[in-house]
Symmetry: C2
Subunit: 231 residues, 2 copies
């Protein structure tokens, strides 16, 4: 699976959030990190070719006035030509996935009815959901990064894993795929260890793999119990 991350941030180099995410994406194969080009450097054909090659397309941006920064809209209005986008003509993006990675300066919980912002991110991203619908794409759950500057080291490490999963894990949101994704990561890690540590790590890996089926079964049982529960 190929992932294209289209990053729209007016001060990309100065954003610690974006630089952290860039480092997190760096080791990932099949992930292309693509800042939105300046308007006078925008090559529409090249952008369209990149989009065709991707299976998952991510719009990554800080929320400015309840939407993406203007640079992403410039890109949308220029690159998503009617011919390219129309399902009945080219339909270049049909069947692909569209995800949003949104960074916030305020806590995510502020985006809810009765909270200071009074609307949810699911409401604010309706134009992107409609875009995905129009292009024949599947809209992914949004990954929110709120108040990065206030996060602890542990939270940042958790964010790194969440972000890497968001860019590379097939079938986002399914427990079994999440497990499989983590095991693959762990296998890659074990392969980098010195020989004497590999043996022990491999045993651990085998155990984890064996546990996976059990975990999936447990998960299914819990889900069944939840479904029949009164609430």
């Amino acid at each position: 699976m190929e992932t294209l991350v289209i990053v729209a941030h007016p001060q990309l180099e100065d954003s610690s959030t974006q630089q952290f995410l860039r480092q997190a994406a760096k080791p990932l194969e099949k992930v292309v990190w693509h800042p939105v080009p300046k308007t006078n450097e925008l090559d529409i054909m090249a952008e369209q070719t990149s989009l065709r090659q991707a299976d998952r397309i991510i719009f990554q941006f800080p929320l400015y006035w309840y939407s993406a920064p203007a640079s992403l809209k410039i890109w949308e209005d220029a690159v998503l030509t009617r011919h390219f986008a129309d399902q009945a003509v080219d339909g270049a993006l049909v069947g692909k996935e569209l995800g949003l990675v949104i960074s916030l300066g305020t806590p995510e919980r502020h985006y809810a009815a009765g909270q200071p912002e009074n609307v949810s991110l699911s409401q604010l991203t309706v134009p992107f959901q409609a875009l995905a619908h129009k292009l024949g794409m599947t809209f992914l759950p949004t990954l929110v990064v709120d108040q990065f500057g206030y996060q602890s080291e542990t939270e940042k490490m958790q964010l790194l894993v969440r972000y890497q999963r968001y860019l590379t894990q097939e079938s986002l949101g399914h427990f079994k795929d999440e497990e499989a994704w983590l095991l693959t990561r762990f296998q890659d890690y074990v392969a980098t260890l010195p020989a004497e540590q590999q043996t022990q790590a491999s045993l651990l890996l085998d155990q984890l793999t064996a546990n996976q089926d059990q975990l999936a079964e447990l998960q299914a049982t819990i889900k069944m119990m939840q479904d029949t529960e009164d609430f």
Copy 2:
């Protein structure tokens, strides 16, 4: 009441919809027609001064990818600085009105659940509603202009009146204000007639004015009946 119409359209001169609306706005006093300046000509202070002077602010644009064209977002991101917009700091826009005039290439009825676009304009404009909320502004009902090119001459005349009312009528959506608005228009028109026709027109005007109270009463009665009706 001063109204500022901020027009965002990439081909403003070539748009028959926008040129029609421009002509409709022309005779109106206290209405400023203001196309979004080019990025390199954007004078933030001048824009902010215009905003301060207005009581009603209109964003007028064709819907591009379920939002305004990029030029309006460039304007928003540049002009609505934190200092200017923040209610706790300057709060320059508190108490003013924000309205949208949106033109569509497809019928307005396509924007509904189950229809081709599957979302409503009320959903798509949530980012603007959130902006109004944040700035302490009142969000007005949106004026939609759909498929202008297919409209009959009568429909265009009705649109002209609807648009003029949208820009100048105080308390939009109240029947009594609508009547008052129409009578004022008619008075202005009578004043432009030759003397011999004025007499007759004035009689008609007096009759209409007298009818206004009756109409308002009738309207109130109908509303009361509707409120008590089963449905």
